[in-house]
């Protein structure tokens, strides 16, 4: 793939940008090694750009660490590719040469102008139309006429970026999921004027990167956030409903438990909101409100929490920061009781004996056939088992089952809406995004209750 020979990543110091840098570097190093035995032929160049040059050191270490791990794991391939290099005999020699060769492809830079020679420019900068517009206008003036731009935006319409910067259809939404090194899903979004050859290139890139590409139409939020943000807003309204009968920690506890256990998901929605970060949630909601012109994209509880300093998100190390849940070793250990209290008293331990017993009793147990996500996801017969479980859930008594049904019905309606509005081509595409991007084990359309 010729375009992979010259790549730039804007915002490479950030969490998404560094992951995208790694995914690109791996594909480039492999391609170079296939052709030349060892990467570093000089044919491939990767320019990593970030305004904050202090991030480069950590980025370099991250990429080197990833390269070493990948080279060790792929030693059989490496030896095959390097078979004609008589000077490289031992695994250590081959791995070292591979890593050094690949690191030699990288150039670090602080200004967007440094992307000027790139055929592909991945952009993962701050999610703000004004900033992106300015950057793209600048890129257009420095890059060649063939350069293709791939934006990692999760919500800003691609057509708008194209138009506002005059990119003439050379931009494609290429939305990685967090973390890009691990997550298999890429949502690919074409704007109205995105050129067909650019779309084809996106598909080819997906293959080179080993990703599952799901096409989405250019409607703010696309498929992933189109579903996720609506579901989170629904969860917040459920939280307020629960608050009428329950204390704050009990309400968060119930919400998280029902969406994790009863829905057989890897995380409850309270934890997932913390994982994404409340500020990111807010930002995407704002973008969607603006471009969908829909005032429903707002939430009073979210605003209150942010005003009280509850943010979630992750540290650079990947460690989960406290949000509506408090974490120990990235696992929920306590739940928010009252953000107005001093730091030490804000949370109630989940381990406190009897503290959530009443809530548990009220919720009841999931119906027959239930298993937690951790067990169900490893079960080879999960498709049949989930079908049986969801059928049982449709009939089950109890508050937990009732709440779960409300979430499933809402999710199905959102999925149908995304297809109806033309954001997703088919219900299967919606299911694919939720399965690959959010690790759901079933699609919204699988719910028949």
């Amino acid at each position: 793939m010729e375009q992979l020979k010259s790549v730039a990543v804007l915002g490479a110091g950030g969490k998404m940008g560094s992951g995208i840098a790694w995914v690109a570097l791996r594909a480039m190093a492999e391609a170079d090694a296939r052709a030349h035995g060892i990467p570093g032929s000089g044919e491939y160049a990767l320019t990593l750009i970030d305004a904050d040059s202090a991030a480069f050191r950590r980025l370099r270490e991250y990429l080197r660490g990833q390269l070493v791990k990948a080279a060790e794991k792929g030693i059989n391939d490496l030896r095959l590719w390097a078979k004609d290099r008589a000077d490289l005999i031992e695994n250590r020699e081959i791995i070292d040469a591979y890593v050094e060769g690949a690191m030699g492809m990288i150039r670090f830079a602080s200004g967007a102008s440094e992307a000027k020679g790139a055929r592909l420019v991945f952009e993962a900068i701050f999610e703000d139309l004004g900033i992106k517009r300015a950057v793209y206008s600048h890129l257009k003036s420095v890059c060649g006429p063939d350069t293709v731009f791939l934006t990692n935006t999760s919500s800003i319409p691609i057509g708008l970026l194209d138009e506002s910067a005059g990119l003439d259809g050379r931009i494609l939404g290429f939305h990685f999921y967090n973390p890009p090194a691990v997550q298999k899903l890429v949502e690919m979004i074409s704007g109205k004027r995105t050129r067909p050859e650019v779309v084809a290139l996106g598909r080819e890139l997906g293959k080179a990167f080993g990703k599952t590409v799901v096409p989405s139409n250019d409607v703010a939020g696309f498929i992933g956030n189109g579903h996720f943000i609506r579901e989170l807003l629904f969860a917040m309204s459920k939280y307020r409903e629960l608050r009428r009968e329950w204390s704050e920690p009990e309400a968060w506890y119930l919400l998280d438990k029902v969406t994790r256990e009863f829905l057989v998901r890897p995380m409850g929605l309270a934890q997932l909101m913390d994982y994404v970060g409340l500020d990111v949630f807010k930002m995407i909601t704002r973008v969607m409100r603006e471009y969908l012109a829909d005032p429903a994209f707002a939430d009073e509880t979210l605003d209150r929490l942010l005003a009280e300093g509850i943010r979630g998100g992750q540290l650079g190390s990947g460690e989960q920061k406290d949000g509506v849940l408090r974490y120990q070793k990235n696992k929920p250990a306590a739940v928010l009781a009252n953000a107005a209290l001093p730091e030490g008293n804000r949370y109630v331990s989940l381990a406190e004996p009897g503290r959530f017993a009443k809530a548990d009793t009220w919720l009841g147990a999931p119906p027959e056939g239930h298993a937690l996500w951790s067990a169900m996801s490893k079960d080879p017969a999960r498709a049949t088992k989930l079908e049986t479980y969801l059928a049982a859930l449709a009939q089950a008594e109890g508050n937990g089952a009732r709440l779960a049904r409300e979430f499933l019905t809402h999710s199905r309606a959102v999925g149908q809406g995304l297809v109806r509005d033309g954001v997703a081509a088919t219900p299967e595409d919606v299911g694919s995004v939720l399965k690959h991007g959010f690790f759901h084990l079933y699609a919204p359309s699988d719910w028949n209750g």
Partner: protein, 417 residues
């Protein structure tokens, strides 16, 4: 074949625990015991059985300390562990995975030559300083580096023995070979679970036989072996004492506490040449033949066996090359349970290299320590009936093999009287 011109006794054997993945104590990110600590522990365990530790000579076996530990000049570590060896002749022997066997033979020769009456023998290896992919680089030095390494598999020896397993399956039936290799693995685990020092002592797999049946995946590993067919990366040390009759008196050891070496023989191959027949371990066969002739016994006299099963296929090939089974028939011998602890030929009751582990330079010495414990009733996993009991077969035998059937020493022993 020449007979032994002096009696040679072996005893005071001690193995350290075999450390590596599988042991609960093992964590790749935590600091690990040093090689000095293994050597000290093995020596102390041996010396605790010797009333008057007074040695004429020391021999230490090791394969690649120069690369794993950046340490050479290993004879100098014998007086560290055994203070009485200070000022005495000490030497290091190296024959890859067969180093331990070479150490035993070297000690025996010193005694036969009347250069020594008491010899302290130790062996060790520490490999967990490196990740497996780099351990493979070091171990590949047991093959012909200039001639084989570049074309070889990333993990080298699994590749070499995969070729042997492939040829064996081709000739005698792939399914039968796979079943026998799986059974070999199962027995390794069953035995290791009865040996607290074994690397697989903590193994809790519900169905080892099923694991052993895993279809090899040439794309991820090698074509004819799965991971369960392979011994792991191991750390550990072993030590024992060898002495003449005069030496026993000086050490204050009684014959009843010892076993006696009745025959031993080495056979070396040309490391630059390929095996003539991949299904035959030529040097293993020659070494065993020589040892039997010297001992004046035959395969029917062997009550307990310690084979060098770096891979499950190696165990099968060794049984055939020693003549315990006709070519292609080791599969049945194993599948019918003859090599199990209650079988007619109890084999590798320590767990063998797959179950006990394979601290390369220690392994040959470790095998002899296990024979000593079996024949003296000290073994944690004794043969039933005892190899020296109702079966009347009072001899034990071990084969120490370096590289791809290259540096081989076979030794025959019996309970001393």
């Amino acid at each position: 074949m020449r007979k032994l011109r002096r009696r040679i006794f072996i005893g005071a054997g001690f193995n350290t625990m075999c450390f590596g993945s599988g042991r609960k104590e093992f964590h790749p990110k935590l600091p690990m015991p040093t090689f000095e600590s293994y050597l000290r522990e093995a020596a102390a365990g041996s010396l605790a059985q010797v009333p008057h530790p007074d040695f004429d000579e020391g021999v230490i076996a090791n394969f690649m300390a120069g690369r794993f530990l950046k340490q050479g000049n290993l004879p100098g570590f014998l007086p560290m562990a055994v203070p009485g060896l200070k000022g005495k002749p000490c030497s290091r022997v190296e024959g890859a995975c067969g180093s331990g066997g070479l150490a035993l033979a070297a000690a025996a020769r010193s005694i036969l030559a009347e250069m020594a009456d008491t010899v302290f023998v130790a062996g060790f290896e520490v490999q967990n300083t490196l990740k497996a992919v780099y351990v493979a680089d070091v171990l590949a030095g047991a093959g012909y580096f200039n001639g084989e390494r570049k074309q070889g598999h990333a993990f080298f020896f699994p590749g070499a023995f995969s070729d042997r397993a492939g040829a064996y399956g081709e000739r005698y039936g792939k399914d039968l070979a796979r079943q026998a290799m799986a059974k070999w693995f199962e027995l390794s685990i069953v035995n290791a679970r009865r040996n607290p020092k074994a690397q697989e002592f903590h193994n809790t797999a519900a169905d080892p036989l099923a694991l052993g049946m895993t279809t090899p995946d040439g794309r991820k590993f090698v074509h004819h072996l799965n991971l369960f067919d392979c011994s792991k990366v191991s750390d550990g040390a072993s030590a024992l004492v060898m002495a003449s009759e005069e030496g026993l008196r000086r050490l204050g050891l009684k014959r009843e506490a010892m076993i006696e070496l009745t025959g031993f023989h080495g056979s070396e191959g040309d490391i630059t040449a390929r095996p003539a027949d991949p299904t035959v371990l030529e040097n293993t066969g020659k070494a065993a033949q020589g040892a039997w002739e010297m001992a004046g016994v035959g395969k029917g006299d062997i009550g307990v066996l310690e084979l060098h099963d770096c891979f499950s296929i190696t165990g099968l090939l060794a049984l055939e090359s020693l003549g315990f089974a006709a070519p292609g028939a080791a599969t049945r011998l194993v599948l019918d349970g003859h090599t199990a602890r209650d079988g007619s030929l109890p084999t590798n009751l320590s767990g063998g290299l797959g179950g006990f582990g394979h601290p390369v330079g220690a392994t040959g010495v470790r095998q002899m320590v296990d024979l000593f414990e079996q024949l003296r009733g000290l073994a944690p996993n004794p043969a039933t009936p005892s190899g020296t009991g109702p079966s009347g077969k009072e001899h034990g035998m071990m084969v120490s093999m370096g590289g791809n059937d290259m540096t081989v020493t076979a030794l025959v022993v019996r309970r001393a009287a």
